[in-house]
Symmetry: C2
Subunit: 429 residues, 2 copies
Amino acid sequence: MNKKINVGIIGFGTVGSSTALILHEKKDLFKRYTGIEFEIKKICDIDWKTKRTWVPPKNVRTSDYQEVVNDSDIDIVVELVGKFQPAYDIISQSLKNKKAVVTANKFLLSKKLLELLTVANENNTYLGFEASVAGAIPIIKTIRESFAANRITAIIGILNGTTNYILSSMTEKHQTFSLALDSAKKMGYAESNPYLDISGKDSAQKLAIISTYAFHCPISDDDFLIEGIDTVAPEDIEFALELGYRIKLLAIAKRVDDTVSLRVHPALIPQSHMLSDVNGVYNAVYLEGDLFNKILLYGEGAGGKPASSAVVSDIIEISKKLLIQEHFPEKFVIEPQTMIQQLDHLETRYYLRFTALDRPGVLAKIADVLGRNNISIASVIQKRENPDRAVPIVMLTHRAIERNIRKAVSAINKLSCIKQKTQVIRVED
Amino acid sequence: MNKKINVGIIGFGTVGSSTALILHEKKDLFKRYTGIEFEIKKICDIDWKTKRTWVPPKNVRTSDYQEVVNDSDIDIVVELVGKFQPAYDIISQSLKNKKAVVTANKFLLSKKLLELLTVANENNTYLGFEASVAGAIPIIKTIRESFAANRITAIIGILNGTTNYILSSMTEKHQTFSLALDSAKKMGYAESNPYLDISGKDSAQKLAIISTYAFHCPISDDDFLIEGIDTVAPEDIEFALELGYRIKLLAIAKRVDDTVSLRVHPALIPQSHMLSDVNGVYNAVYLEGDLFNKILLYGEGAGGKPASSAVVSDIIEISKKLLIQEHFPEKFVIEPQTMIQQLDHLETRYYLRFTALDRPGVLAKIADVLGRNNISIASVIQKRENPDRAVPIVMLTHRAIERNIRKAVSAINKLSCIKQKTQVIRVED
């Protein structure tokens, strides 16, 4: 048996060069531990001018990805270009050429995971994508293998380090959103254009991948609610703390009857929850299942080394399978009857912050509208600060229906005693 | 290809009956997702009188384990008897009969993991043991596969739910050890004879298994320091909190040069450490590696369902491999040059609580002995409560050598101003 695996890498940025360096530096170690000799056959990038820690030999370098995708000697193609095209062509052509593919491309997979898994199946080969979600945290493998005996019932992730850093700073240092964002930029934890992170879009892409895989149904990040963190005010964080909660940007996927409730939004989470102590730039995924009950996987979600740790582990795992002549890639089972729950039907608890004139009867008016919409109040904080100015009234509701909350809040916002748009943040108990 | 796997279960207690029930109830689901039909061919137990949730058909039941071990139809033997014998014979005979084995036996594997892995290798078959450590938390698989590209440099575990519950109660409710132990017993979190838990022995067995596997060298729980939690006093917990730490029973395995430092003992851990918020009966394993950096795996470490989740996942994984005719079990590589560090050479920080007469010059005397032993002091708390009675003096040292600490403390204990044996707790920064 030939125990040699030829690897082609497309995209030689942070993760690509870290991956190549690991395969290069740990070559003897991997051979000793797995019996497999990894050879980097080709590395493709359009830019060979930028300086890197490790420069591959000239005969390995190319700027034409077709040279990798169509090289009959290459067993595994590692796609680290990112974005949609040409990554989509690289992956699908490679799979059709019967090559296994390892990728970290969250953007592409958040739209095309199921399709590409099917192409891999049809061509009797493998698609590894652990690195596309939460860096080195082994979420995909844990769902697939360690929890194979379980029915996964809930996935709640803190999947974006930038927003978690910002919310942590706002909580610990009592900063405003924009001050915390500035400090995140200074620390290198936020990009100069932080839109993808702040808006929740990055978390949503990762949630689409994890939940497609865990629930065996096609889920794209276009299919569910995505709310960012820029509307979270310092007073929301303070009130949350007073009520025993913290505010986190959560990516939530939960089975509710025959549907999956999916959403990304800031949420109040009890201080006793496993996710509540995940601070700073860390990522974490909390899972619930019928047998293991609750598990938290917690670590660094970004960076070249953690991501390439996941890429190389996928390469090793897939290589072991490829080296067995008569290997049978497992068919990924699709459950077409699983539907995404409509947001209107969501049932959860809500944090409501009204800004109202501090006059007798205001609370009664608000409570009346809530009652008429079948929303019952669990607790109220009303601060009497200044009788001449609008003051915050904060409520936690019991479980209520999203549609009713929207109706009620819209009606309350029209009351003459209400001086600002009401803040609504969902609670994850 | 025959896609049927025959399973024999030996030991029909909590985990055994939960495992059988899962294989029985989820049979169709597993067939749909993996293509494999699992058949429970035989279940062995010496007691068939005790009532169980699920009673297997009569033709499946036996009281003679030889009927399982020597049944040529059985592909996988699940050993859930526990203890040393006959578990050792069951596992080694089964492996020699070319059957794969799945076990949850921490006691046996803490002495014999490497030997049994070697027997499995020699017979071209598999030994699954995820369930032997920390219930459903996927620590073995994560080290083996998800972190295959990494050099694991540290493993720090909270591996015993009973002691973690007791220390959490002492911290949160300001209870004494014996009061917290009583409440653990009442809650069903401690056995009537809690020796194995309290003494650190149970944690040590699990640490031996994880570190043998992670560091590829033979490690038994007889090889390293094991200290229990019964000497931790409420004032140690209070002083620790005041200094920014919590006290946890930690199972520690760290690479130090060419050696591995191994030990189980109560330790001060900074409140900012990932492990510090792991409270109650939960287990958690914190890992450090050269690429993934830091990861925490956190969940329920005990109970029939979590353990059987791990057992059944091992069964499924191994079955997939068995069903490939030409399968090659990976040879477990042994690194014979890796040595266990001698405790004398341990270098860490220490918490010292002296009980001394509150007289001028006492601190100077203590500091003098420490200084002569190359121990430098990082901080001191000296409470002036009652000039007529002995009072606590608490110190945190900078990094110091265990041998020096022992020498110094032994000398200090002989000073006339010292009224009680000095409390020494290691710090894990």
